[in-house]
């Protein structure tokens, strides 16, 4: 398959040549030349005002079937009887989408002895909870989780299936999509609907957050996406804590699969996981020494938040990898992000761009972090941070 080019419409403006991320387009004489290496990304089609470029109409591996009636589903991630906040956020988003499509919202709850979580899912927006309890689901292992969710979805037919883009979700949801032979979009930060074609418009950052892309799954069901924690909003007014619990007996799970859980070897000793924190105080190279993270911990504690770090601080051994934020670490979306001594490498910015409000404290007025910060304090962090801590303490005493 290759790009469709209508030479008669082409004005030789060259916009497509500039737009091609892979550099395969060039103007040769009076004609556009399409070289080897086109990935059909569509960037050129987007910029072509003369509509001389088009993507080939893809013929699907299978025709689009009738719309399944299962409505919008959310994977209700839980660990040791505690729901991941992103599951509740996505139920809020699912309700909003479901209202437009006039379909029900369901949560899928997998685990061992987790039935008590159903009312919380109803309050968060689920009309129905599909519940599968099995010893093999007590701890997260990709194989059993993928088998269980695939089987339940194949049996009850969701139109849309959403899950949190957590380490767990991003590990096994692709296996569910592959098992169901349908599309999946990773780490979405916005959803919308095309009501006419009844399509979920899934928007996500790519190229390290430098570009946003909107993606559809036009021919298969369910339309699946993982969604970034902290971005979507829970329902402001909880629903009544009642609904239908559908207990599913799974045929696909066996006691001894090829992959088994042995144990948790290390719990991250955080008062609050980064993904759940509404406030994050993060430090970078500017902190200079491991001991200065103590100061950030104090500030985080006063603000009821968690401590994060850049790759540079982690690589220097000042703080464990679990605290790393950015493309090589975690992606966060707190209400308040305080960047201390962080210059703002693009890889770090990719991990914080969904934050509601960013404060940066840095000596270097040219630091790129100031371009994304809502408030930038130019000055010595070793003076400003202690002064801030003192100001908060003074007031609270």
């Amino acid at each position: 398959m290759s790009l469709i080019f209508s030479a008669d419409k082409c004005t030789l403006c060259g916009a497509c040549v500039d737009a091609c991320p892979f550099g395969v387009l060039s103007l040769e004489g009076e004609r556009l030349s399409i070289g080897e290496g086109c990935t059909l990304c569509g960037a050129c089609v987007e910029v072509c005002e003369a509509e001389a470029l088009a993507l080939p109409e893809a013929e699907g591996p299978s025709p689009r079937p009738g719309v399944p009636l299962g409505g919008i589903w959310v994977f209700a991630e839980q660990r040791q009887g505690r729901l991941a906040p992103v599951a509740l956020e996505l139920l809020g988003e699912a309700r909003r989408l479901a209202a437009e499509l006039s379909v029900p919202v369901a949560a899928v709850l997998l685990g061992d002895r987790v039935a008590h979580l159903a009312p919380e899912l109803f309050r968060a927006g689920a009309d129905k909870v599909y519940l599968a309890e099995h010893p093999a689901l007590a701890e997260f292992v990709e194989g059993p989780y993928a088998a269980a969710l695939t089987e339940i979805a194949a049996r009850f037919g969701p139109e849309i299936l959403l899950a949190g883009a957590t380490y767990v979700g991003r590990a096994f949801i692709p296996q569910v999509a592959a098992g169901l032979r349908t599309g999946l979009t990773a780490d979405c930060t916005a959803f919308a609907l095309d009501p006419e074609r009844r399509l979920l418009l899934q928007t996500r950052p790519a190229f390290g957050g430098n570009i946003m892309a909107t993606i559809i799954t036009p021919r298969t069901y369910p339309q699946m996406a993982t969604a970034r924690p902290g971005v979507f909003k829970r329902l402001a007014d909880p629903c009544p804590g009642e609904g239908e619990v559908v207990r599913v007996e799974l045929g696909s799970l066996t006691a001894a699969g090829p992959c088994t859980f042995v144990g948790t070897v290390e719990e991250i000793r955080e008062r609050l996981p980064l993904a759940e924190a509404e406030v994050i105080v993060a430090g970078g190279r500017g902190l200079k020494e491991a001991k200065h993270f103590r100061m950030l911990e104090d500030l985080a504690e006063l603000l009821g938040g968690a401590v994060g770090a850049t790759r540079a601080a982690v690589d220097a051994g000042w703080i464990p990898y679990a605290h790393q934020i950015g493309q090589t670490g975690k992606t966060v979306a707190p209400k308040l992000y305080i960047a201390v001594g962080i210059s703002g490498a693009i890889q770090h910015l990719a991990g914080i761009q969904s934050s509601d409000f960013i404060v940066a404290i840095n000596k270097d007025p040219e630091a790129p972090i100031f371009k994304v910060a809502d408030i930038g304090l130019v000055g010595d962090l070793f003076e400003i941070v202690p002064a801030l801590i003192a100001a908060i303490r003074r007031e609270r005493e």
């Binding site: 398959m1 916009a15 290496g37 790519a206 559809i216």
Partner: protein
Amino acid sequence: MLKIIVCIKQVPETDKVRLDPETHTLIREGVQAIINPFDLYALEAGLRLKEAQGGQVTLLTMGPPQAEAALREALGYGADEARLLSDRAFAGADTWATALTLAQAVRKLGGADLIFTGKQAIDGDTAQVGPMLATILGIPYVAWARKLTWAGDGVLEVERLLDHGYDALRVRLPAVVSVVKEINEPRVPSFKAKMQAKKAVIPTWTLADLELDPHEVGLAGSFTQVVRVFPPPARGESEIWRGDPQELAARLWARLKELGRR
């Protein structure tokens, strides 16, 4: 002897790729094609396992003809052989169609005991091809490994990162394992291996070689479609404050309280 496959991807250096907010065109001045940095950890994991247990490391990538350069560079780290999956029909593949094509190549190679991938590719950031590949091949997948211990008898113990900390798993091979950067420190390629890599013959496998149907691969075989590409929404104007640290701190605290009330 372990058969180890390492999947790699050639990517543009993403910190250089930007959309012009006015014209929506990509600014790719000075953008180089590199091996996805996360894949170097996967390669190192494969090489170490081979060195400890004996075996062979085969590199696999799907991409345009120029992706051969990435394979050649990766061979320089000490991998034994490489295959390039390249055909115009593969263009526009989403993660599913990519995984399907890779799976067919794995089958053509006679399968593998272990397939390593990096955490994710820095251009797409999806982390989906590895798990999809495992499902298509019908073998287990373990994500985000930071430590591998050979337990003998075709069993691997894996320590892996999740949101709450680190879990230990035991997996019976064959399996697909994705690794995080904590797992190792990739080696510096030796001069000898680099020289050998320069001369290495890298076979290209096309659609016909893989005996796939054109409707199964590339854009035609993809379940997802990109409908729009646009620059990220601009954040509001930055306020830049300078001055006495005490005053700055007091002013910031006042503002934070205000934010907290909203």
